[in-house]
């Protein structure tokens, strides 16, 4: 399983990388390589050119502003996993990372790579979707921002043009005291999710839910926000009935059938995992708010 021949380019600036992407035919960007190189070894992917982003300064790192966070696309998953400020501000990402592959995967894999690869079962795109992330993209015509909902465009398809490079992910962390949960069912530890649910909750001092995000991975051809589920959560206190209704709505999606699971089972998992995620998020929220108070 040896890859087909290709030319290797190691640009040291973003402009150089963008220029290469614009001028070379059948060129692919390599970030962590954890998905791409496996596909190249199988010869499922046979780019004529590989453009390595690993030597470009300024493409990685976490940059915290007052209300926002910018994460460079080449930030290794490992760095995210061990970042204390990130764990405090965006705990959903850390929770998602616990399910991402294995240590070796996260040492090399990047946030941008995972988003650009857009595997429907991937955890990081799903967490970013729940967080309403904004994706910064660089191309020959400059940079642009795309909301995650639009960025995720289909089965392993994103809004990236053939000559564009994912630059950074912009997040607006939820308020201190919010609840979060990432519940996933995979056949074994670190496997791709058969189904997963990412949940964020925030409530006022009376426990009335003011904000909710429910996103699923692995269930359809891309990560999905379950707006219907969110709608029945907001504006009321969370109780078992609300959770059950939200979970039921969350699971009411057209689901994928493949060798690992059929559509019925995936929908069932979506309900079960959303339920568990809502319970866990709610419990964390209550605990956190008590701590703050």
């Amino acid at each position: 399983m040896k890859p087909a021949p290709f030319d290797y380019h190691a640009p040291t600036s973003l402009d150089e990388a963008v220029a290469l992407m614009s001028t070379l035919d059948n060129a692919k960007v390599i970030a962590g390589g954890q998905s791409l190189v496996a596909m190249m070894n199988f010869r499922y992917a046979m780019p004529d050119h590989l453009i390595d982003l690993g030597n470009i300064a300024g493409l990685s790192g976490l940059h915290f502003e007052a209300q926002t966070l910018r994460i460079g696309a080449m930030t290794r998953q490992r760095e995210l996993e061990f970042s204390v400020p990130l764990a405090n501000k965006v705990p959903l990402l850390k929770a998602a990372l616990a399910h991402v592959g294995h240590r070796q995967t996260r040492n090399r894999g990047t946030l941008g790579g995972s988003l650009a690869h857009a595997d429907p079962a991937a955890e990081l795109p799903t967490a970013c979707l729940a967080l309403d992330a904004e994706i910064e993209i660089a191309g020959a015509n400059g940079t642009r921002i795309v909301p995650m909902r639009e960025f995720s465009a289909g089965f392993m398809t994103t809004a990236l043009g053939y000559d564009e490079i994912l630059l950074a992910v912009h997040l607006r962390p939820w308020a201190n005291g919010h609840g979060y949960s990432f519940q996933e069912y995979a056949r074994r530890h670190g496997d791709f999710a058969v189904a997963g649910a990412a949940v964020l909750l925030d409530a006022n001092n009376d426990g009335v839910i003011e904000r909710a995000a429910v996103a699923l991975c692995g269930v359809t051809d891309r990560p999905v926000r379950r707006d219907e589920a969110e709608a029945v959560l907001v504006g009321r206190q969370l109780d078992d009935g609300a959770i059950a209704r939200a979970a039921s709505l969350a699971g009411d999606v057209e689901a994928t059938a493949d060798i690992h699971a059929d559509a019925t089972y995936r929908r069932h998992l979506a309900r079960v995992l959303t339920t568990r995620a809502l319970h866990e998020a709610s419990s964390r929220m209550r605990t956190k708010k008590r701590e703050i108070a």
Partner: protein, 782 residues
Amino acid sequence: MGSKNFGARVTRFEDVALVSGQGQYVDDIRIAGTLHAAFLRSPHGHARIKSIDTSAAQRCKGVHAVLTAADLPERMRKQRMPLLLPNATMATLRTQHSLAVDEVCYVGQALAIVVADSRYLAEDTLAAIEVDYEVLGAVSDVRAALADGAPRAHADLDSNVVSQFVMNYGDVDAAFASAPHVFREELWQHRGGGMAMETRGVLAQANVTTDSLTLWSSTQTPHIARRMLAEVLDVDLESIRIIAPDVGGGFGPKAIFYPEDAVVAHAARALGRPVKFIEDRREHFLCATQERDQYWNVEIAVDDDGNILGVRGDMLHDTGAFVPWGIIMPYIAGATMPGPYVVPAYHLACTVAFTNKVATTPVRGAGRPQAVFAMERLMDRVAHELKLDPADLRRRNYIRPEQMPYSVGLIFRDGKPLIYDSGDYPRGHDAALKLAGYADFPARQAAAKADGRFIGIGVASYVEGTGLGPFEGVTVRILPDGRVRVTSGATSQGQGTRTTLAQIVADRVGCRIEDVVVTIGDTAGIANGVGAFASRLAVNAGSSASIAGDHVRASILKMASRALGLPESEIDLEDGKAIGRGGNRPTVSFGELSRAAQGMPGFSMDADHPVGLEHTAYFTPAQASYCSGTHVVEVEVDVGTGAIKILNYSVAHDCGNVINPLIVDGQVQGGVAHGIGNALLEWMQYDENAQPLTTTFADYLLPMATDVPICAIAHVETPSPLNPIGVKGAGEGGTIPAAAAIIAAAENALSSFGVRFTETPLMPDRIVQALQRAGAYGEHVA
């Protein structure tokens, strides 16, 4: 005479090189000038080859040869692989050609070889070979293979049936006719592949001057491979040497002789350059043999107390597209089903049919896991219906130790009557239950239930024929420097054969274990050999080592007696020296005696003086020796997702005398891991066109460290009377009853829902489906 090594926890000397990265697996062996091979493989489950055009491929960069069947010598082109194990019931003895001639019968079957400067370049070249296929109907599901009008797996055969045979004894019709209770189960079972971490590989080097051939091969059976290769290439057997270097796991599929090895050997001869073929993982999924589907339709007749009156039914076995090992596995399965129980009457009708998939040959357990699953599911059904405790039910049906040797009434795969030579099934059973805390389980289960958790326990017992013949020889030779060389046709793919043999020989001859040098897996090392499969080496090679060691010991004592002027009874052999007792303890070393056994050039030796201080022994077992054991497994089922977690795993294991508990425990633990894979994870899936769907480690799931707990293991030692060291095989017992025990535990965990499981592997979506049908999911989902 000491036995300080036999039975001791000796750490393996193989490990020093292996943990240092100094192992020598086939791909690590480097010979200057080596070329690299890749094979063009059929993308179709069944097709006629209309034409193959290699002209463009031959012009590709770095290519030295592109060969199809048409380019092979005529005899090699036409000859099919020798069939190792024919059986009179087989309607067809179909094996593969070296390279497909005009028909391909499974996805992955090789049509051409490319030999190039590198594997990279060889793979590039494959795309340039043009093949015109006529796609034919393919058989995928073995049940469909039997249907009227089914596609033929082989276009020229009238039927997909390979064999139909019956295993029976006693009057099963009478037993069922008069039985108060009869229960029937239909079971689907799938095993999957051996999936060693090292794929197959071969490095062939021809010596033109001496017209000889050396192969390094990741094989379990170098001597068998040598015979097969000699026949396929039509060369003198003695001109071939096959060496199994370090081998990264075997588990059965590497015991087969593969056609690619013959093609690589031929290419090496034709090109006059060494040729190396290292199979990649994708090829392994397509072409390494596997075990796969069996459909069992069986019923059990019992009296009101649950005593077995009879077992009968039928079984359908998917043998894939070829039968390189005949019908061994279904045969073993049929003979294993009665197991440790008194079964007065038995009748199993087996049908073996072709499908368009790679051949089915033994994988760890070799048909026994399926037989045990069938029998144990029937026993659990009886327990459920008659409201008996499943462990108690088994206990009352076991063959008792005083009934040994026990004649089951069948002929086993070794060609001999199936007679259990030894064993104490109740003792193993009790030991396993005690380890598992079985008596306290109901309380644990109730406490968990109160917590909203569903846990269950399952029991399964088995009997396993091991130590199969015909032989495995060992030569023990004292070297001039006093070290003891041990050579054998035995091989190792991780089971510690070298250390085990060293332990036995060191005890026999009276030397330090560090002074024993073991060479295995080299056809040049010993004239006759068989290899590793069917848990046979401890018995065969172990016994040969013991016998050869005793002979050498006798020669040492005889020579030492003369050298020291003392009677043999006053001489001790210790640490490589013969030491007289008493007085100033006169000593002569083994090295000195070895040199003396060479005599002096031109001088006569005494008539009975040993020539060379060595002996070769070929122990030939009269029949298989029978291991047994009981597994008790505790699991938790996540009712929401269907996930099963193994909480505790207890094993009672009887492999007779234990040579090295470290190694035996490792075999049990490793065997259990395979069993967990069989039960919960491993499913080699094909679509209706016999296209394999699971061809990566992401799709075909092997157990990980988070899936396999540390087993509690109790050893029961009932020595086999059939060999001089009283041992039995230990390599497969961990796997054989595992799926049965795990599935039983899952069923027990969900007993309040009344769901029953009759398949393995048992996937979480099936559990959820069953729970859904049982109405387990109300409005609020856990």
